[in-house]
Symmetry: C2
């Protein structure tokens, strides 16, 4: 099959973006990606829009974004995989090129969550899972779901509040150095420990924010990529899995099964040994919608043994210079989490890391030329793992 | 690239289905497809769910459907292309197999429109297009959009009400013979002419209904398809295009530009000559959300010359035995239009036609072994064309 490369990246400022419409926000990222790839809209053969959009009244976000970005009449669709929507969009374009249907595709993830004609954002996010069963019957909401995981992990492995806090402190440390981040400020452990409870044991500073933002990628087949850039970043493999819609049916609350299944698939395709996976990657972006999610990701991805993820955080092993730098763009926690854009934003961060184009103070050491993104939808209802490399995969 | 075949089809009863939940409705189609392919859930490597679902409170339809159908933890996503959502779902699975990511995929399109916690279905459909501009500012709704096309076509080509009516009469004639159809009754031209106006010149009997329904396909790579069935139906090619989000920016209202662009792409890939495209196909399903849409489709697909589509309807050339049988499953008009399922339903109908498995009284004569589906999202905001054949494409 054909190799697929990332040849352009774009990223908007994340935060409360009431200054723009959804399509204007998307254009900020699309424009940057086109300029980076030195391409024009006519060069794009297909575009896919990642947007959850329950809170946007634009029910045809792909065509509205497409027209504003002057991509009409190119083929398009909107994809959704909850908070993993951005990665699902990448998958659609990646497969279209790998399948030989097209040679150049644009991926844009966009979400406008703070500005909405029907502003029930929190309730809508709360519905993630099986709405009619768990939300309506038991009132389980999104922070509540992750609080169950945090409580179970604490009970089983003796994790302390400070272990969760160390993730928040790290991600704010790097967010403070990312000009695109929603929260460009560091926090202290004291501030963390004093922050308001959201769903015990999770506090406000364990939680990712409500964010408006967009991110874009331009993907190309190997033949075309060679003409566009001399620094392609290849998509080596993807792994994708789903989890039970009902958390009441999950057997374990100390890891996300779908993440583990998707990671194993992606690693198998990339010939990566799970037991020391961390050795392969120079940098990783993982889905820290809550701090506990990042700690579980360390284990689900094979960066730490079961029950030792919280120590990895406590010991600072995921800072730059540590065992494996994780979320050194600030992560969902500090960079922000515009759910349709997050997966694309992760890919932008990893691509720029591998090319030594990261923001000052956030550049990891690139030795093996490989990176990974881990993007979760809902509470492990969806999981997408993508592996990137500066070295051409053998196709 | 690898060839991709349809190896199983499933279809639920369309209509007002308050007797089932969305996931139960999906299972009706999935179960039938699995049985037809003689496969079990464990054999499915990936599934994609086509669902627009603005009126469903299930915000993660793919995982809810996946769990109910026992497909967890297989990878999945939800795709949306307005009323072309079903075809977008087929495209996702088709590309995944063609790209070599997987060998067997399940496609399910499902929509439950009549039963809803927030039953503003009509308003939600009305929003199709650019909500903030045309819907909020001008109050343009979906029937109004197509009424503009019907008026323009009448003015330019002298189409009569009876020409529109002849499409409704034909589709109800075949719908009466399709046990899955929402309206299993014939109508007369007199009934048509007396039916209530919806948006002049369109009447109630020009309009497709609000429908609950599901349809499913199982796709497989050539190697695997050979083991599953001795009667594969191959996907020969797809064409996909988009149109301006704002109808106020369209230059012509007598055809759907996106349909024409997508058809040309699909024909080019399949080496089909546009000027006599109808000769290649034994049967077609086109997107008759309103009768005018079917007449424009005749022309956008090259079945009739510009301005002659309404004559094709009037002269009965699209009945079985005519020039090319179109919507002999009843079409959206009589079979119903559950928007996330419609594109998959079209593929099920064409597959069964090509295999001589159509319902009694609806089987077309199959000579060339080729069929086509035309699925439009919004008012030509999306267009998906898919070509099917019983003869293996040269890959």
């Amino acid at each position: 099959m054909r190799n697929v490369a990332i040849v352009g990246t774009g990223h908007s400022k994340f935060g409360v973006r009431n200054d723009v419409s959804m399509q204007e926000l998307a254009w900020e990222a699309v424009k940057q990606a086109l300029e980076e790839a030195n391409l024009e809209q006519k060069d794009i053969q297909y575009f896919v829009v990642g947007n959850v959009g329950m809170w946007s009244a634009e029910e045809l976000p792909a065509v509205v974004v497409g027209e504003y970005c002057d991509l009409t009449p190119k083929g398009t669709m909107r994809v959704e995989a909850a908070c993993a929507t951005g990665s699902a969009a990448i998958r659609d374009a990646y497969q279209a090129i790998k399948a030989g249907e097209i040679d150049v595709a644009l991926v844009v993830g966009v979400e406008q969550m703070s500005q909405s004609p029907n502003p029930q954002v929190i309730e809508l996010i709360g519905r993630a899972g099986n709405y009619f069963w768990e939300f309506e019957n038991f009132g389980l909401t999104f922070p509540g779901y992750y609080a169950l995981y945090a409580s179970a992990y604490m009970a089983k492995y003796g994790m302390k509040e400070e272990d969760l806090g160390s993730v928040a402190v790290k991600n704010h440390y790097y967010g403070a150095r990312n000009p695109y981040a929603q929260f460009q400020k560091e926090i202290t452990m004291e501030e963390y420990l004093k922050s308001k409870p959201v769903a015990q044991p999770l506090k406000l500073l364990d939680s990712s924010p409500i964010t408006d933002g967009a991110a874009a990628l331009i993907l190309a087949s190997e033949e075309v990529a060679r003409k566009i850039t001399d620094s392609p970043v290849w998509i080596v493999s993807q792994g994708v899995a789903s989890g039970t819609a009902n958390l009441s049916r999950r057997t374990d609350f100390t890891g996300i099964e779908a993440s583990y299944v998707a990671a194993k698939e992606a690693y198998k395709r990339a010939k990566i040994d799970f037991s020391d996976a961390w050795r392969y990657f120079d940098v990783a972006d993982v889905h820290d919608c809550f701090t506990i999610a990042e700690i579980m990701a360390y284990e689900d991805l094979g960066f730490a043994k079961r029950g030792e993820g919280h120590l990895m955080a406590r010991n600072g092993e995921t800072y730059i210079g540590g065992k494996i730098p994780v979320n050194v763009d600030g992560g969902l926690k500090a960079k922000g989490h515009p759910i349709g854009a997050t997966g694309v934003s992760m890919a932008v961060s990893i691509t720029r890391q591998l090319l030594y184009r990261a923001h000052k103070g956030t550049q990891a050491d690139i030795r093996n030329g490989m990176g990974i993104t881990h993007n979760v939808g809902g509470t492990g209802h969806y999981a997408y793992i993508t592996i990137y490399s500066t070295r051409r995969p053998s196709s």
